[in-house]
Subunit: 118 residues, 2 copies
């Protein structure tokens, strides 16, 4: 019953978790949610995105256990499940604050890619 997950599976879990954070919209959602509970509507307004888009990304975060939902009448309020998620975001911020050369290069590349795609 207390069978410890094999190493491989643990790493898959971690990977899945990181993958859940691997989308700009979801990062934006979490940057808001880390400061407290928010309804879908509030999130939608903050991000200025379509309702279904927001719900879809929230569903992904829910599926990966990053956030949890609480129903209150017809509105659903989301919270970050573990405050450690905030730490992840902070660490990421620090990383891009520190070795700027790398991130600058990445920025340029991202911009070039985006241009190419239009």
């Amino acid at each position: 019953m207390t069978e410890t997950p094999r190493r491989f599976e643990l790493q898959t879990l971690k990977a899945e978790f990181f993958k859940a954070l691997g989308h700009p919209t979801r990062v934006r959602l979490l940057e808001i949610l880390r400061h407290g509970e928010r309804s879908v509507q509030e999130l939608q307004q903050s991000l200025a995105l379509d309702q279904s888009v927001v719900s879809q990304h929230l569903a992904i975060l829910r599926a990966k256990n990053v956030v949890s939902a609480r129903k209150d009448g017809t509105t659903v309020r989301y919270t970050v499940r573990d405050p450690a998620v905030g730490e992840l975001l902070d660490v990421a911020r620090r990383i891009f604050g520190s070795h700027l050369e790398g991130s600058r290069t990445m920025l340029r590349e991202l911009q070039r890619e985006q241009r190419r795609r239009r």
Copy 2:
């Protein structure tokens, strides 16, 4: 010049970074590399994977500036660019250590999915 919002791009950078960690093989690579420099060969042997598979994942980590490569004769040695990456892995570990219910559920789901796929 239309100046694109800076915040958005920062979050895209973060997302790209997390995406780089969003694969079991890459998590495994980083769990080794965080303890010090390793050659491709060493990594390949530790993970028991094909050479080209390892190189491909290393290329992705390089592209996202997670690791850097140093050439030494015909062998290439990789290191983690920022020790903060180790912190990310630790935080992830803590997350899966704490709210076990969630991760257990995720584990079961992952296993079910894997079975379904065969």
